[in-house]
């Protein structure tokens, strides 16, 4: 493979004629001839009535294709090898998710019309540059501990004092003539209006990603035109974002009024100044995302809890000791993601899970074949590796994924998982 190990390159071409629109990722670009061939082989399949969605190279490299709106083709290429994470099935799922997310980024910034009806390729190429910031963020998956782009569930931070914040978000949104309001702490949702939760899960995740990138730039406030890939792909709304404190952002989605200036000078102080201390308490929860008051078993290394009905999730890597033995914090996040993909592609294969995409030509096939081999729906699964022990369980309402140190006896895992589920759910209402 011509890419460096483990690095992912993203190609975007027009679907009809294969004109390259942009490439992102990987320091060493694929030669033009290879890009042409990748497009060609997909087109050849199309001519034969076959949709080519993915393939694997001998060296462990992966290529996935996907056409959106019969207009834009996205191809993701991963070099495989040492740096690559997980085995090839996990990698394919990751890449398919990436393509979907990248498309959503493109719609968010440019709207669907411009992408679905390409009139002027040169102009589109120029406009697409506006999406690179978000797309690169998706490629790099910079922020540790934010799993939404993979799970398509909103990443939550559970605040110690939710009622006050909820009231403030509701009141603030209403005063800004909006039904859609959201408070983001450390890049995760701490409170949101009822309507915000009615947005498509992918949109909630995408908006969180956008707000994170804006928040990283440390700007004080923003007025960003956004298209909602599912709810409003052709009409832009305004995303107003205000940085209340560093790491704490409040946002509303609104129409033509109020102006940024009016909202900022008239509303921000009125609703949020009385809550500075509450916001600081919320910031103090930090990357743990679960308030200290929630007792977690000391032997849990990391957890991801998903509410399957509301599409919300909370995840946390718990490193009680500074000099804790490996795996490191970063590796725990990596392992948690891999174990999530592992479980959801092999065992917990339902509608909403990763392997079944609702749109055309998503990755189906083998994962489902594997699941069909069972006469029943697995409820729990575990995996023991050299690095850690992992345990997942699901109920009609929840999925829980846990990592434990290798020293924990395997027979304890089930009890520990069941107990953690009921403890966290009881304490947080998630």
């Amino acid at each position: 493979m011509m890419l460096q190990d483990g690095s992912t390159q993203l190609l975007c071409l027009t679907a009809s004629s294969g004109v390259p629109l942009f490439t992102r990722g990987a320091s060493k670009q694929l030669p033009f001839s290879v890009i042409g061939s990748l497009n060609g082989v997909h087109m050849f399949g199309g001519g034969q009535g076959v949709v080519l969605s993915g393939c694997e190279t001998e060296g462990g490299g992966k290529v996935v294709w996907r056409v959106f709106q019969d207009s834009v083709m996205l191809i993701a290429v991963n070099g495989g090898g040492q740096g690559g994470v997980g085995c090839s099935r996990e990698e394919e799922v990751r890449l398919q998710r990436l393509l979907e997310n990248v498309w959503n980024c493109m719609v968010l910034v440019l709207g669907q019309d411009e992408l679905a009806n390409i009139r002027n390729v040169e102009r589109l190429k120029r406009d697409l540059r506006s999406c690179f910031g978000l797309i690169d963020q998706m490629l790099e998956e910079r922020q540790e501990g934010v799993l939404g782009s993979l799970t398509h569930c909103a990443d939550l931070l559970l605040p110690p004092n939710p009622t006050l914040l909820q009231e403030a978000v509701d009141g603030f949104a209403e005063a800004a003539d909006s039904e859609f309001g959201c408070l983001i702490i450390h890049g995760r949702i701490a409170a949101a209006t009822e309507k915000w939760w009615r947005l498509a899960p992918q949109e909630v995740v995408l908006l969180s990603a956008l707000i994170r990138s804006l928040s990283d730039s440390a700007s004080a406030s923003c007025d960003y035109p956004v298209f909602l890939p599912h709810g409003s792909p052709t009409v832009a709304h305004r995303l107003l974002r205000f940085q209340l404190l560093p790491g704490a952002d409040v946002c509303v989605l609104c129409g033509p009024s109020p102006s940024l200036h009016t909202a900022e000078t008239g509303l921000v102080g009125r609703f949020w100044a009385p809550l500075v201390e509450t916001l600081r308490d919320c910031l103090a929860v930090g990357e743990r995302c679960v308030p200290q008051a929630v007792n977690l078993r000391p032997d849990v290394l990391a957890l991801l809890l998903i509410n399957r009905e509301t599409r919300r999730s909370v995840s946390s890597v718990l490193h009680p000791l500074a000099d804790a033995p490996p795996p490191s914090k970063a590796r725990c996040w990596e392992l948690l993601k891999l174990f999530y993909i592992f479980s959801t592609t092999r065992y917990f294969t339902q509608e909403e899970s990763v392997c079944v995409s609702t749109e055309e030509s998503g990755p189906r096939g083998r994962a489902n074949d594997f699941a069909r081999g069972f006469s029943h729906q697995p409820l729990q699964c575990y995996l023991v590796t050299e690095e850690c022990k992992s345990y997942a369980l699901q109920t009609p309402q929840h999925q829980l994924f846990l990592l434990f140190p290798p020293s924990v006896p395997t027979f304890v895992l089930r009890t520990a998982a069941t107990q953690t589920l009921s403890d966290v759910v009881a304490a947080t209402g998630l």
Binding site: V109, R126, D127, R129, S130, F132, G133, D136, L214, S217, A218, S219, A220, S221, C222, D223, Y224, P225, A236, R238, L239, F242, Q243, L244, L245, P246, A248, P256, S259, L260, H261, E264, V268, G269, W272, A273, V276, L279
Partner: protein
């Protein structure tokens, strides 16, 4: 419109280096770096040192890639991104800056809110420009020393704003990427000529962002001076702000 004040005639230049400025500048620093303020925060002085804070809205304009977003980052002490990502909407940045008025010795905190909007976004969405213009106090016209066309377009840009605002606005020109002298496309003589014709201050920025205040103080002091002077002239004409009228 009144004559622009001479540099250093209204506020004390290099006040950040003076001993008596220290306690004020410490409030905008945190562990020797610039402190980031959320909208709910501001520098807090002890109760016996009452300082007024004056708010200003400043719009950054200039073609895509000229360095608007980088300037906003620079003025708040953040590193400038080395990849150019288009700004796809309006982003504002808040800079607190203490100044000491030369005549009265009075100290003020300026709260400068910089409004930065990507050129493409301005073109695609009609509502953004009016929002940037709403109650704006100053415009910074940016050109890049590495891009001649951005310099040549300045008169055009400036007259557009002059017609509309009829002298209500403070205007400043900022030349960016001054560090890239190897690729310099705008001669110093051209800048001097421009300055004489238009009678606007031209400031130069470039290079790595340092933690110190030396890099940003000429620009921020110049802006402060223009804004305060402008306010005084306006206030003078309607008989407000007695103490500053004497200053003219």
């Amino acid at each position: 419109m009144s004559q622009n004040p001479a540099t250093g005639s209204v506020v004390v230049s290099d006040w950040h280096r003076c001993k008596d400025g220290k306690e004020y500048f410490n409030k905008i620093l945190h562990r020797k770096k610039r402190k980031i303020f959320g909208l709910l925060e501001s520098p807090v002085m002890p109760p016996h040192v009452a300082v007024d804070t004056v708010h200003y809205k400043i719009f950054l304009t200039g073609k895509s890639g000229v360095g608007k977003t980088a300037l906003a980052a620079r003025l708040t002490g953040r590193n400038i991104p080395n990849v150019h990502y288009e700004t796809t909407g309006v982003e504002t940045t808040v800079v607190f800056w203490p100044v000491k008025l030369r005549d009265s010795g009075r100290v003020l905190f300026l709260r400068l809110q910089l409004w930065d909007c990507g050129e493409n976004a301005l073109r695609r969405f009609d509502h953004l420009l009016p929002s940037c213009k709403e109650q704006v106090d100053a415009v910074l016209f940016l050109f890049s020393f590495t891009d001649r066309t951005s310099f040549d377009d300045l008169p055009n840009q400036i007259s557009k704003w002059t017609e509309e605002s009829a002298g209500r606005l403070v205007k400043l020109v900022v030349g960016t990427k001054f560090d890239l002298f190897m690729h310099c496309d705008v001669a110093q003589r051209d800048v001097r000529d421009f300055q004489e014709t238009w009678r606007l201050p031209v400031l130069r920025v470039g290079g790595e962002v340092s933690n110190g205040l030396d890099d940003v103080s000429p620009l921020l002091n110049c802006l402060a001076e223009q804004l305060w002077h402008h306010d005084c002239v306006t206030a003078g004409s309607v008989g407000l702000q007695q103490e500053t009228v004497t200053l003219l």
